[in-house]
């Protein structure tokens, strides 16, 4: 601790005469309690709720995951048994596979769609802010509403989408009633909802690209196609990175729209990890396994995020 900071702190905490002359015994400092009081005043309003409603549940979730428990009878210690069971379980593999299929289908849809919209809105265009607001509207709509509206649009018998497909002579899928089409139905509706979010992030990224770079490339005789691949896309990579990281984190936690549209069905064909956590706890009374599964999911998300952050040096260019 050097003299400058001590002085600065003394000024911040009170008059200079409170300055401690013997810093060896900090407990006796006259301003100390007052200063601690301010720290508590500013931090406790957030620290107490975070401790009680996040940190304690976090630790007890770990504790529960080491037990067999149906929420009612006493807990039975099983050590890492839940984890071992889950990792060897066919069901776990299936719910992770479904979640992965969802993410792999959803991410390109939402990224390419969002990028096209962002590129279009980055042009000189009449009614640009109206269009931007329109594309963003689904983002502020709740997942449950989006899922219900799309469940109706994708209704196999009298939904709008199949009526249109039928009218132009295309096959009419069973969507959420068909094990083959249940996950694609969820992907489509999720991409529709998140398109505006991705567009806004990418548009902000596009607008941060200096115009001179495009002009320089144009002077060099490049085609618009070349400029897109060589200038726009590389300079957009920080925004792309943000979108990919956020989409993967949210994608692996997908639940609301699946619960509403398919409830994991038909025949478990669209059951995702969080849906399985919910069912294990509240339908099958296997809270221990549910907690263990939630930690496995957390580990997977953490791993994927860390790998992306490590790997960003290869393709993300910060201007």
């Amino acid at each position: 601790m050097n003299g400058v900071t001590v002085e600065a702190r003394a000024t911040a905490a009170g008059p200079v005469r409170d300055l401690p002359t013997t810093p060896k015994r900090p407990r006796r400092r006259p301003g100390q309690w007052k200063r601690l009081g301010w720290v508590l005043f500013f931090l406790l309003p957030s620290a107490i709720p975070l401790f009680v409603f996040t940190l304690i549940p976090m630790v007890s979730s770990l504790w529960v995951s080491l037990h067999q428990w149906n929420l009612i009878s006493p807990m039975k210690w099983v050590g890492f048994g839940n984890y071992a069971n889950l990792l060897g379980d066919e069901m776990t593999r299936r719910v992770f596979l479904h979640t992965l299929i969802y993410v792999v289908g959803y991410l390109p849809l939402v990224y390419v769609g969002g990028l096209l919209l962002a590129l279009a809105l980055n042009q000189k265009l009449k009614g640009r802010s109206f269009l931007r607001a329109t594309y963003f509207l689904p983002v502020v709509t709740s997942w449950v509403v989006v899922a219900l509206v799309w469940k109706w649009l994708l209704n196999p018998t009298n939904g709008l989408v199949n009526q249109v497909l039928g009218a132009i002579g295309l096959p009419e899928p069973g969507w959420w009633t068909d094990p083959q089409w249940a996950l694609p139905a969820v992907m489509l509706s999720s991409a529709w909802k998140d398109l505006g979010f991705v567009m806004v992030i990418l548009l902000a990224g596009l607008q941060a690209i200096p115009g001179e770079l495009h002009e320089a490339a144009m002077v060099d005789g490049s085609s618009p196609w070349q400029r897109f691949w060589r200038v726009t896309l590389p300079l957009l990579s920080p925004s792309t990175f943000f979108v990919v990281v956020i989409s993967l984190i949210n994608g692996f936690q997908v639940f609301d729209q699946v619960y509403v549209m398919t409830a994991g069905g038909p025949a478990g064909s669209s059951q995702v990890v969080v849906g399985q956590i919910y069912d294990l706890t509240f339908r099958y009374g296997r809270a221990g396994e549910a907690s263990a599964l939630s930690w496995i999911l957390f580990a997977v998300i953490l791993l994927i995020t860390v790998v992306q952050i490590r790997g960003q040096r290869r393709w993300v260019h910060y201007a």
Binding site: A8, R9, T11, A12, R35, W38, V39, F42, L43, P45, S46, A47, P49, L50, V52, F53, T54, L55, I56, P57, M58, S60, S61, V64, L117, A120, L121, L131, A133, T134, Y135, F136, L137, P138, V140, S142, W143, V144, V145, L148, W152, N158, F197, V200, I201, L203, G205, A208, S239, I249, Q253, D256, V260, I277, Y278, T281, A287, S291, S294, W295
Partner: protein
Amino acid sequence: MRDTRSLPARLALYAAVLVGAAIMLFPFLWTVITSITPEGSLADGPKLVVDDPTLNAYRTLLDAIPMWRIMLNSLGIAIASTVLQLVTGAMAAYGFARLQFPLKNVVFGFYLATLMVPLQVLVVPLFIEMKTLNLQDTYFALLAPTIASAFGVFLLRQAVTAVPLELDEAATIDGAGHLRIFTTIVLPLIRPALATVAVFAFMGSWNSFLWPLVVIRSPEFMTLPLGLSTLQGQFTTQWDVVMAGSVVSIVPIAVVYLLAQRHIIAGVAHTGIK
């Protein structure tokens, strides 16, 4: 940038963005149309122009669930959680950015740790905690996990750090204490960050589904997403009623959105730029 594009290229661009807008808007329009189509004509799908529009679905809806109460619940909880997150977040941000105390980094590390853990990990023990405290099925239970958000603290701390320290020092010389510096100097200067946090807090609460689904049983404490999802079970094939419920829950947020659209979009865009 000068508009160097040819006329066909420009027309194609407009056509593309308008088709995009139609894809985004049409589902909302279809929801309204379905909700006013008589139940009997739904079997072949509703028509774009409804022959004999009716508000029957809305009447059925209001009889089935306490819709007004549910809407007020959603609004009240969203506002309360936004205000609480702003207050607790801004205070913590000031504490971390401006006060010195032992183990500050460790404490901040704990805050960040809570940020990383997804809600799904917490749902089971949080539910048990609420049950033990006999708080399940209450407004407090709905609010509890959103009183403070580490995300808000993190974002606001960045903003407070960006406020020049000289301003604090000048105020200190004028005899201002922490509370005065916080309320009259720091808070006004971090308004954009506060707006961003407010947008995320409000949308997060308004759209939250998993936690209410777990902790709320009685219709009178339900929020809109939960209330709507119960409709689906009651009216499996009555899409007019389900769509009426969707319309009722879209309208308030759409109004808020139309009024604050610029700020909301700017707030979201702000998080993407480092």
